[in-house]
């Protein structure tokens, strides 16, 4: 099981998935022209990780702006986590936001709505 490392660009977040710890971190804005191209390796990695063992999967998100296709991609990823959670797999999402920008928290709440797995929305002092 390999790690996944995608550097950030002006329009895409940095993504790091650690196979040892089972933690995926995403930092930044996401408004790529092709969200599928950006997120499909992430979804593939999640699929592989879930299939490879029994360990917990954690998503640590530090995302500010998402365009529409990135919103869809995130929802698809949460669907994968939801499915894993229903199959008794330990999964968790931590959505961090700058306390200066409360509206990101409201958006994270929207994402959280249909998720039954642990989904924490945490403010970080600016």
């Amino acid at each position: 099981m390999n790690n996944l490392h995608i550097d950030s660009t002006q329009s895409t977040p940095s993504i790091f998935a650690d196979a040892q710890t089972g933690i995926i971190e995403m930092h930044g804005d996401s408004y790529p022209e092709n969200s599928y191209e950006l997120f499909s390796p992430v979804m593939q990695w999640i699929d592989d990780y879930l299939a490879a063992g029994e360990c917990k999967l954690v998503l640590d998100l530090h995302l500010l702006y998402l365009n529409t296709s990135s919103v869809k991609a995130m929802m698809d990823i949460f669907d994968m986590l939801e499915e894993a959670h229903r199959a008794k797999r330990a999964v968790e999402v931590n959505w961090y936001y700058d306390e200066q920008n409360e509206r990101v928290a409201e958006l994270a709440e929207e994402f959280k709505e249909d998720c039954s797995f642990p989904f924490m929305i945490t403010s970080l002092a600016g």
């Binding site: 529409t68 919103v71 869809k72 990101v104 958006l107 929207e110």
Partner: protein, 261 residues
Amino acid sequence: MRGEKQIEQRVEALLCDPAHQDNPLRPSLDELYAEFRGLLHQIDRVTRISDRYQHVSREEKLSLSERYQKQLRQLEKIARISDRYQSMMRDLNEALKEASTRDALTGIGNRRMLMERIKTESGRAERLNRPLTIALLDVDRFKSVNDAHGHEAGDKALVEIAHAIVTSVREYDLCGRWGGEEFMVIMPEINAEEAAIVVERVRHAVMALDIRAGDARLSLSASFGIAERREGENVSETINRADTALFDAKRAGRNCYRIAA
């Protein structure tokens, strides 16, 4: 159905009865009954198969409609979230625009805003052949305020002066901080002489400011250079003339205005 069962039983009983062993109708009845049983069996099978098909198709329909509903919900949610992101960006954009055209200290327009507006007003004055006058204001001996009472007192004075300008000009005049202790007032629709009346109002308002720094009262005044836009003149030419007039006012002893030639 009850009737059918009864006739089946009767036929079977007749076929089994040895008394009818030699009846000439018996072989034909036997054959007919066997055929009847076969057909019955076939109908049964066809019905079962058909039921199964119906069941599968119903399941398919249910799962399709379930998937459709799910997609629909997802789509609505995506639209909702996306809309909120967009409105967040729009508000951020507004805030940025506000920040880029406001002077952070005094809250009035900054040089960028003044340049934008003077260009617009200049174009309008040229097009409609209307007068337009600008005034540059420079606080007199402002450096000594900073030196004697500190930057905090100086900043406080600038905020108060900005307020004095805003409240002294006409409603449609535009003022902003040109830089340092310099301010600009853009006055559409009036010539230099009419603008001088507005400027005098501002000058008196600045003199009347009661600003304390510790125990001392700051004694403030300002000098003004007024320039009425000439036909065909570009923005920087008008500003330069106002600047020269301001210099003349300073040379003339400060706390006064001069109108550009």
